[in-house]
């Protein structure tokens, strides 16, 4: 096969950046995206930490760079078959493709917060998720968020590091997202008291710690170490949280006008199906298994199948972008036969 076609599954940040780089490297990338827009989860976000970069402007800039690259929206992979030196792919829109390599960049899905029933998402009116809040930042549309807020609570690790929820790993970005969203809320509601309930804070990235200190010192956000045990509803619709402050060693009860749940990241539900088409392996955490987790994160155990972004584990945006570039280079080398 002479073609230099590379199929990219997923049109999020990873897929878009990989496509751009692959074209610069002389390949012909094709993006297949199941939703009706490019940009994935980031497209629904408002601002990105730590620079408070506008997510929509980033996605816009990235989309512009894809001019001329074939993108199939609202399309999924129906079947993939390995040929002698490539893959024959059938898409759900009826298109057939022959490609030399496949880059899986199918990303993650958000933990369904309603599964943590004790927090009352979907049951109480004033309970939303991190993703709902970003949507509200963008559009201003959400009936659950009242005009006046005097107490706002954030609960970290909803569906992350939680065996009961079936997801033992850390979702990496929620600690920082909570700090960021707490600051953004404080900017909008300067009189509101903001409370973050956390197990421990994992602020590993560049400038993350600064954000955390700012949130406390300049914005007066309260950080309470302890998990929320249960949430009930007041007669006037406000939520009542019960938690243990494990540093003070006492129980706390808080009436909040809004409760924001930091829903974690899970592997996308269709990733396992994709993996089985090309016999790539799924890891014990549900994400795809890389050849190793140090040196060859972008490679699968099968030739011609590459990974980028959150399909192999939870990632931040900069990590995803870096992986997409690395994957593009790996694919170029693979096509050149320099494995």
């Amino acid at each position: 096969m002479d073609s230099q076609t590379v199929l990219i599954i997923g049109g999020g940040v990873a897929g878009m950046e990989a496509a751009r780089q692959l074209r610069l490297l002389g390949c012909e990338p094709v993006i297949v995206e199941k939703s009706d827009h490019l940009g994935g989860h980031v497209a629904g976000w408002h601002k990105l930490f730590p620079d408070m970069l506008s997510a929509s402007s980033l996605i816009e800039r990235m989309s512009e760079s894809l001019d001329g690259i074939t993108v199939y929206l609202k399309t999924q992979v129906a079947s993939m078959n390995r040929l002698k030196d490539g893959f024959s792919v059938m898409l759900t829109n009826g298109t057939g493709l022959l490609c030399r390599a496949v880059l899986i960049a199918s990303g993650f899905r958000l933990f369904e917060a309603s599964r943590k029933e004790e927090y009352g998402y979907g049951v109480y009116d004033r309970v939303i998720t991190n993703s709902d809040l970003e949507y509200w930042f963008n559009t201003g549309e959400d009936d659950r968020i009242p005009d006046n807020l005097s107490n706002i609570a954030f609960v970290h690790c909803v569906g992350s590091r939680d065996l009961k929820a079936g997801n033992p790993q850390c979702s990496k970005v929620c600690c920082m997202t909570a700090v960021k969203q707490a600051i953004e809320m404080k900017e909008r509601f300067p009189d509101a008291e903001i409370w973050c309930f956390y197990m421990d804070l994992r602020l590993f990235g560049k400038k993350y710690e600064d954000f955390y200190i700012n949130a406390q010192r300049d914005y007066g956000v309260h950080f309470v170490r302890g998990r929320v045990s249960e949430v009930s509803e007041d007669i006037d619709g406000r939520v009542i949280l019960k938690a243990e402050d494990t540093l003070a060693g006492r129980q706390v009860k808080l009436k909040a006008d809004l409760l924001v749940l930091m829903a974690g990241m899970l592997c996308n539900e269709d990733t396992a199906g994709l993996a089985s088409m090309v016999r790539a392996e799924v890891d014990s955490d549900g994400f795809l298994r890389s050849r190793d987790n140090i040196f060859r994160i972008n490679e699968s155990s099968r030739p011609g199948i590459f990974f980028a972004g959150a399909c192999t584990g939870t990632k931040t945006v900069p990590e995803t972008v870096a992986e997409a570039r690395a994957a593009a280079l790996d694919i170029r080398n693979y096509l050149n036969g320099n494995d």
């Binding site: 004790e118 065996l163 079936g166």
Partner: protein, 602 residues
């Protein structure tokens, strides 16, 4: 009729005699020991029940129906029922007929233990007399019945699946000795009686056999060795009986009167518990029933193995098995002799000593009493319902729609019902909480207490003393509201399969009212394993040591059973089942209250 030996004795009876005397002595000693282990009240209660005509009659009937006819087993599995009752009842009839023969023909020998057993060797009677014809026919008939049972038992050993048992126990070495000697007894009896049939008479089985043998074994020299063999088989069986699972035969005859006397397990090893453990026949029905057995590593944690380990005194394993169990009660529900697996385990847990015992006497109930005042109807949701707010919300909405004036007593703050402590064996601590809750409820002035959590409901009905207050589960309460026309349900399109929560079904015997309610509010389907046979969701508070990965396999197995009904969604009536199923279910899971609320216009 003539007696063949003036002495009425032959040395071949010795093995049997030794075995018989040993087993009788052992059982007599055992009975005294167990009576001694009972508390004074229990002993009094038991002995009194033996001379109370109504319980005495019940005892006799129960022993006849369960130990001989195996009525309960027939209902569950006809093949197994036939196998057991043919051996037990047949053997009993042979012993009885043997005694009748002795009493009819030579009443002076009746005090010899071996005479009824070896009658045909000692007494020559002709089948041409009326008495002989009838008695010998019956003897042969029951022997044939037993032999059929033994043949089935042999087939079962090789292929238990034919009998509908997926898994069965692995017999221990001594069990095998007992098993093979039991199998040998009756074919040997047939041989022995056949060899003497031309002298002592026989019937349709023994006479033809006698003809056949005499064709090629022309003399009577084979007679004595086969009677020896028969006696030895009996002797071996009886000598090993106390150390094998066959101990259940005498033990069950003790268990039935004790249970009828109303005794309860008070100590994990002694008294009533001991009788229960000895009554376990080791059939292994509880293995297939146990929700943990979906994982092969847990098979040895079923009740049958607990009983075996208790008999062996393996403390480490006893503790492990007792702590692991989910206490779903299914082994008890399917057990043929009624071994109370969960109660044995709770008693074992209760024997553990803790360094710290919580003391709840300092809790100030005044604010809780104040919160509970104001209405005749109280709603106690319990901790688990507070963690599944959708249930509390649906219950509140239904109460409003029915126009019930009620108070949600633990909406804001509340005390635990005590059931988790009780299942952990911390009975004193549980009673501390129970007294506090009793105080709150009695001071509130209410006359009805509605509970939406079956875990709470079970302990409220069993351990709480609330005079003047009606304790009712929400399934029954809503049924009444519907009957009285205060709630109007309209049938929706969704079809639900109802999962019986362990604590509500097997625990409290409530099976029908939730089904009836769902039937009025939506379509209803049944899973293959349902009601008493319902499979635990795996989330039970009962287990102290199972981790989430092990529980996951159980939850998925329970869900598989529910999926087979082809219903659109799953309905249950327990907050813990709801949470556990929601974690892995492919179909929506709803609480009964949510189902009703959705179809109730108010």
């Amino acid at each position: 009729m003539r007696e063949r030996f003036a002495t009425g004795f032959d040395p071949f009876v010795l093995p049997f005699l030794v075995g018989m005397i040993f087993v009788l002595g052992y059982c007599a000693y055992g009975i005294f020991r167990i009576l001694f282990q009972l508390s004074r009240q229990d002993r009094r209660k038991f002995l009194l029940s033996l001379i109370t005509p109504s319980t005495a009659l019940k005892n006799i009937w129960d022993i006849f129906a369960n130990c001989l006819l195996h009525v309960k087993l027939w209902k569950r599995n006809r093949m197994l029922g036939f196998m057991h009752s043919s051996i037990a009842f047949g053997w009993f009839m042979i012993i009885l007929l043997g005694h009748i023969e002795v009493m009819v023909y030579c009443p002076e020998r009746v005090r010899l233990l071996y005479y009824p057993i070896f009658f045909n060797y000692f007494v020559a009677e002709n089948e041409s007399t009326i008495g002989g014809a009838v008695l010998f026919f019956l003897m042969d008939f029951f022997l044939l019945l037993i032999l059929t049972g033994i043949a089935l038992a042999m087939i079962k050993r090789v292929r238990s699946r034919i009998f509908g048992m997926r898994r069965t126990t692995r017999p221990s070495a001594l069990d095998r000795v007992g098993l093979y000697s039991l199998w040998a007894i009756f074919p040997l009896r047939l041989l022995a009686e056949s060899f003497t049939a031309h002298i002592s008479g026989g019937s349709f089985l023994t006479i033809p056999a006698n003809w056949v043998f005499r064709q090629f074994l022309g003399n009577d020299l084979n007679m004595l060795p086969t009677w020896w063999a028969y006696s030895i088989a009996l002797g071996v069986f009886m000598c090993v009986l106390p150390f094998t699972r066959y101990m259940h035969i005498p033990a069950e005859m003790m268990l039935i009167p004790m249970r009828n006397a109303g005794l309860k397990i008070r100590h994990p090893r002694k008294g009533f518990a001991k009788v229960e453990v000895l009554s376990c026949p080791g059939c292994g029905v509880c293995i297939d029933a146990c929700p943990m057995s979906v994982k092969k590593v847990n098979i040895k944690d079923c009740t049958v193995y607990l009983n075996r380990q208790i008999r062996r005194g393996n403390e480490k394993r006893i503790e492990e098995i007792s702590d692991k169990c989910l206490l779903c009660g299914k082994c008890e529900a399917v057990c043929q002799v009624g071994v109370e697996g969960p109660k044995l385990r709770i008693a074992q847990r209760a024997s553990r000593r803790y360094g710290l015992t919580p003391d709840y006497s300092g809790i100030d109930v005044a604010p809780l009493v104040a919160a509970a005042k104001g209405s005749k109807v109280l709603y106690f949701s319990g901790c688990m319902t507070r963690l599944t707010p959708s249930i509390g919300k649906a219950v509140t909405s239904l109460m409003h729609k029915a126009g019930v004036d009620f108070v949600w007593m633990d909406r804001d703050e509340g005390l635990c019902c005590g059931r988790p402590l009780l299942t952990a064996g911390r009975i004193d601590a549980a009673i501390g909480l129970i007294h506090k809750n009793e105080e709150i409820i009695l001071s509130s002035g209410a006359d009805t207490l509605v509970l939406s959590c079956p875990i709470c409901y079970k302990i409220f009905t069993e351990r709480y003393s609330l005079p003047g207050v009606r304790v009712v589960n929400y399934t029954d309460y809503f049924s009444e509201l519907v009957e009285h026309g205060r709630l109007h349900l309209t049938k929706g399109d969704v079809c639900y399969v109802y999962h019986d929560p362990c604590e509500l079904g097997r625990g409290c015997g409530i099976y029908d009212s939730p089904r009836k309610l769902i039937g009025q509010a939506a379509g209803i389907a049944e899973a293959p394993k349902t009601r008493e046979e319902s499979i635990c969701c795996g989330g039970s508070l009962g287990s102290l040591t199972l981790d989430f990965s092990q529980r996951e396999a159980m939850t998925r197995n329970a869900l598989k059973n529910l999926y087979e009904s082809r219903a659109d969604a799953i309905a249950t009536a327990c907050p813990l089942c709801l949470t556990t199923f929601s974690r892995y279910s492919e179909r929506p899971v709803r609480d009964l209250a949510e189902v009703l609320d959705a179809s109730c216009s108010g």
